[in-house]
Homo-oligomer: 464 residues x 2
C-alpha cells in the first residue's frame, strides 16, 4: 500500500472583487461592529457576473498544474466538492475535463461530492482512499473545492464569500493523513439547506445551525479521542496537536468552536487544562449538554480561558476566511492554506487537527502530520505558489452599493439562459477563466484572460 498519502500541493483562487465588512455594516444600517466583531469578519469576496464556480475551478486547476509543473496526463482521478449547483445532473468535474481532453487524457475517475460545506472533505477522503486502494494506477489525485456563498438580503448576507481550491493528492506527501484518527458525526437536520431550487439562496436557521455545528464538533471530538486512545494507548488532548483548523463560516464561530474543545478537555479532565482554567470552568461542570450549548456565561468564560491557546493554535489559520468570507467547501481548506501561508516550514514535524462541517448534517474531525517534503511538493513551495499575501493585496474593493447591484443581477442570471456577459475581465488576473455566454440551450462558454502577450486557449468550446 502507498505510504504517507496526503496533500502534495495546493493552490487557491478567490475573486479579486470584495466589500469591506465595515462598509457593509454602515450600508446595511447595522450596529457598528456587528459584522467585524460580532461575526469576526474583515472582508467578503464575491463573484461578479463573469465568474462562477466553474470558472473559478478552471482557474485553480490550470494554475496548480502550471505552477507545480504537473503533466495533465499524470492525473488519474479528479473530484469536485461543491454545493453551488449550476446543473442538477452534469457535474462540475465534467467541465474541468476540458483541461485534460486537450492533452488526450480522458481516463480520469471521480465525480462531484455533495453535502453543503462538507463535499470537499468527502472528495479529499475519496482521493486519499483511492491512492491507498488496489484500483490506484500510480497517478495523482486532484481535489477541487469550489463555491460561491451568497445570501438573500438580511442578517446572513455578510456571511457570504467565494473561492476555489485545488489540492493534489499522492503518496510520500508533505501533508500526510493520519487516517486512523478520525471521528465523524452525521445526522438528519434542517439547519441550512437549499430546497428552493429556482433560487441560489439557502434557507438558514442561524441559531440552529450554530448549535448543530457545536454538537457535531463535540461528537466528532469524542470519536476522534476514542480512536486516538485506542491506537496510541493514551488520552488525546488539545496539547497533542500543534494547530486546529475549523470550517469557518465566520470567525466568531471558530472562536466558539475552539473554546468548546477546551471545555470538552475540561470535562474529560484532560492534561491540557491547568488549575486556573479548571477553577474558572468549574461553575459549568454540571450543565447538561443542551444547557451548555445555550449558556452565554459558559461561552464567554470558555473563550476567555481558551484565548492564549486560540492565539497559538488557531489564529494562524484565520487569515483567508476573515478576508474572503465563507467559501463553503473551500472554507476549511482556505483556513488550512492560511496556516501554510503563515507558518510553512515551521510546520514540519507538526500535527494539525481539522474539523469539517456541512449542514444537513455531516461532520468529521481528522488529523494531518506535516513534513517539509521535496521540491516542488514542499511546505515552503506550497506557501510560495499560493502567494496568499500577493493575491489579497491585488484585490479591488467595491462599495456596498455596487455589491448589492451585482447580487441583484446574479439573482436574475441564476438558472437563466440565452445571455452574454459583459466579458469584462479587467479586474481579473492574467490566466483567470471567465464566463462569456450562456446560450439558448443553457450551454455555458468560458474564456481565459491572456497571460502576458499570448492568448491562452481563447474560447473554451462546449462539448460538441
Amino acid at each position: 500500500m502507498a505510504k504517507n498519502v496526503g496533500i502534495l500541493a495546493v493552490d487557491i483562487y478567490f475573486p479579486p472583487t470584495f466589500v469591506q465588512q465595515e462598509a457593509l455594516e454602515a450600508h446595511d444600517g447595522a450596529s457598528k461592529g456587528k459584522y467585524t466583531i460580532g461575526l469576526g469578519q474583515d472582508c467578503m469576496a464575491f463573484c461578479t457576473e463573469v465568474e462562477d464556480v466553474i470558472s473559478m475551478s478552471l482557474t485553480a486547476v490550470t494554475s496548480l498544474l502550471d505552477k507545480y509543473n504537473i503533466d495533465p496526463k499524470q492525473i488519474g482521478r479528479l473530484e469536485v466538492g461543491s454545493e453551488t449547483v449550476i446543473d442538477k445532473s452534469k457535474s462540475i468535474k465534467t467541465f474541468l475535463m476540458q483541461i485534460f481532453e486537450k492533452f488526450g487524457n480522458t481516463d480520469i475517475e471521480g465525480v462531484d461530492s455533495t453535502n453543503a460545506c462538507y463535499g470537499g472533505t468527502a472528495a479529499l477522503f475519496n482521493c486519499v482512499n483511492w491512492v491507498e486502494s488496489s484500483s490506484w494506477d500510480g497517478r495523482y489525485g486532484l481535489v477541487v473545492c469550489t463555491d460561491s456563498a451568497v445570501y438573500a438580503e438580511g442578517p446572513a448576507r455578510p456571511t457570504g464569500g467565494a473561492a476555489a481550491i485545488a489540492i493534489l493528492v499522492g503518496p510520500d506527501a508533505p501533508i500526510a493523513f493520519e487516517s486512523k484518527f478520525r471521528g465523524s458525526h452525521m445526522s438528519h437536520a434542517y439547519d441550512f439547506y437549499k430546497p428552493n431550487l429556482a433560487s441560489e439562496y439557502p434557507v438558514v436557521d442561524g441559531k440552529l445551525s450554530q448549535t448543530c455545528y457545536l454538537m457535531a464538533l463535540d461528537s466528532c471530538y469524542k470519536h476522534f479521542c476514542a480512536k486516538y486512545e485506542k491506537f496510541e494507548g493514551k488520552q488525546f488532548s488539545i496539547s497533542d496537536a500543534e494547530y486546529f483548523v475549523f470550517h469557518s463560516p465566520y470567525n466568531k464561530l471558530v472562536q466558539k468552536s475552539f473554546a468548546r474543545l477546551v471545555f470538552n478537555d475540561f470535562v474529560r479532565n484532560a492534561s491540557s487544562i491547568d488549575e486556573t482554567a479548571k477553577e474558572k470552568l468549574a461553575l459549568f461542570s454540571n450543565l447538561s449538554g443542551d444547557e451548555s450549548y445555550q449558556n452565554r456565561d459558559l461561552e464567554k468564560v470558555s473563550q476567555q480561558v481558551a484565548k492564549p491557546l486560540y492565539d497559538a493554535k488557531v489564529k494562524p489559520t484565520t487569515l483567508i476566511p476573515k478576508q474572503v468570507g465563507n467559501m463553503y467547501t473551500a472554507s476549511l481548506y482556505a483556513a488550512f492554506a492560511s496556516l501554510l501561508h503563515s507558518k510553512h516550514t515551521e510546520l514540519a514535524g507538526k500535527r494539525v487537527t481539522l474539523f469539517s462541517y456541512g449542514s444537513g448534517l455531516t461532520a468529521t474531525m481528522f488529523s494531518l502530520r506535516l513534513h517539509e517534503g521535496q521540491h516542488p511538493f514542499s511546505l515552503s513551495n506550497i506557501a510560495s505558489v499560493m502567494n496568499v499575501a500577493g493575491k489579497l493585496k491585488a484585490r479591488h474593493e467595491l462599495p456596498p452599493e455596487k455589491f448589492v447591484d451585482i447580487m441583484k443581477l446574479m439573482e436574475h442570471r441564476y438558472g437563466a439562459k440565452d445571455f452574454v456577459t459583459s466579458k469584462d475581465c479587467s479586474l481579473l488576473a492574467p490566466g483567470t477563466y471567465y464566463l462569456t455566454e450562456v446560450d439558448s440551450l443553457y450551454r455555458r462558454f468560458y474564456a481565459q484572460k491572456a497571460v502576458g502577450n499570448t492568448v491562452e486557449n481563447g474560447l473554451l468550446a462546449n462539448g460538441h
Copy 2:
C-alpha cells in the same frame, strides 16, 4: 489490505405502480412497436405523489438491513448516488441517517455522489476503496442508488422509470472487484443535463447522447483491454467474460452497445470473432470512428452478428430494466440484479464486465469476479432476498391517462412547499416508506407502512 472486497448483499426496490409501454404507445398515438420494439421496453415504473427518491432509499436500506440481519451499528460508511435533486445542499444520505441515529450510530462517513446516471458507480468505487484503505475501521460500507427518471411529454417520456438499490460492501465478498481491470472515459458534453433548476425534467439531445454513450463505450473498452493485457499478458476479448452488463436507459441501446463491443473485437482482430462474422463485418473495416457511429448498415449487421452472443452474455441482465425502465444511477445495478436473479449460483467462478455511463459525461468499464459465498452473503441468498419475480408480480398496472395525471401533479409538487400528500399507501407493500407532508419550511416528513400487525416507526420526525 482487505482481500476480495466487493458486494456482499443487494436489495432492490421499485414502485409498485407502472404503465405498459404498449398502452402508452397507443395513448401517445405513436406507431405500434415504437416503444416496445424501437426502444425495446416492456413496462415503466413511476413514483406516485407518495413516493420519491428519499422514500425509496429509506425502503431499500431498511429492507437490506432487515433481510440480511445487519446491525445498523455495523455500518461505517454510507454513500448515495443520485441525480434526482430534491435539495441542492442537503444530501439524501443525511435523510438516511434517521435509520441509524435511532441505534446511536452517527459515526458513518460518506455523502452523495453526482453525475447523471454514474453517481452510483462513483459511490460504489468509493466504498470499495475505503475498505481497502488505511481509514477503514472494519465495518461495512453501504451504497444506495436512487432515482426517479421522468421526462416532459414527447419522445423521451417512455424512457422514464424509478428504483432504489442498496448494496452492502465489505471484504471476502461473493461479488469481488477485479480493480486492476478498469477503464474510464470522462469528457465535457451536453448530451443530457438538468440546467432548468425549477423543473424536474432534463434537457436531452437523444441522438447526441447515444453517440456519446457509444464513443465512451469504445474508449472505456480500449482502456479496459489495455489494462487487462498489461496485467494478464494476453489480449482481452468478449470471450473472457461470461456476462456483460450495461447501463440501460432503454434496451435497444444495450443491444447496440454489445454489438459495438463485437465490432471492436473485430477491428482488434480478437479471438472472439469467427470467420463468418469477419466476412460479414469486413465491409465496415475502413469506416472512420465518426462514420461508424452513424452507419445504419453497420448497426444492423453487427447486431445480427452479435445476436447469439447477446442472447448468452447479455439477455439475462435485461429483465428489470425492460420491466421498470430507466432507473438512472440504479439502472446498471438493476441490470446486474437481473443477472443475479436469473443465474444466481451458476455465476460462481464467473467474470462479469460492467459498463457504467452518466451523461455530461462520465463512464467506466469494470470487472467483477463471482463466488458462491457464505450465507447470508451468498449468491443464492441475494437472489432469494431480492425476490425480483415476486416484486414484479405484485405490481399494479395503471392506465396511461392516470400516469399522465400523476406526472402533471408531480410537476406542480416539484420544489413546492406547504402541502400534505394523500398518504394513500394502499398500493405499497408493507414496510415501504412514503411521503406524508412537506411543511412551510420545505421540511419533508415520511412514514412507514405497517408490517403485519405492528406499526413500525410511525412518522419519521425531521431533524429538530
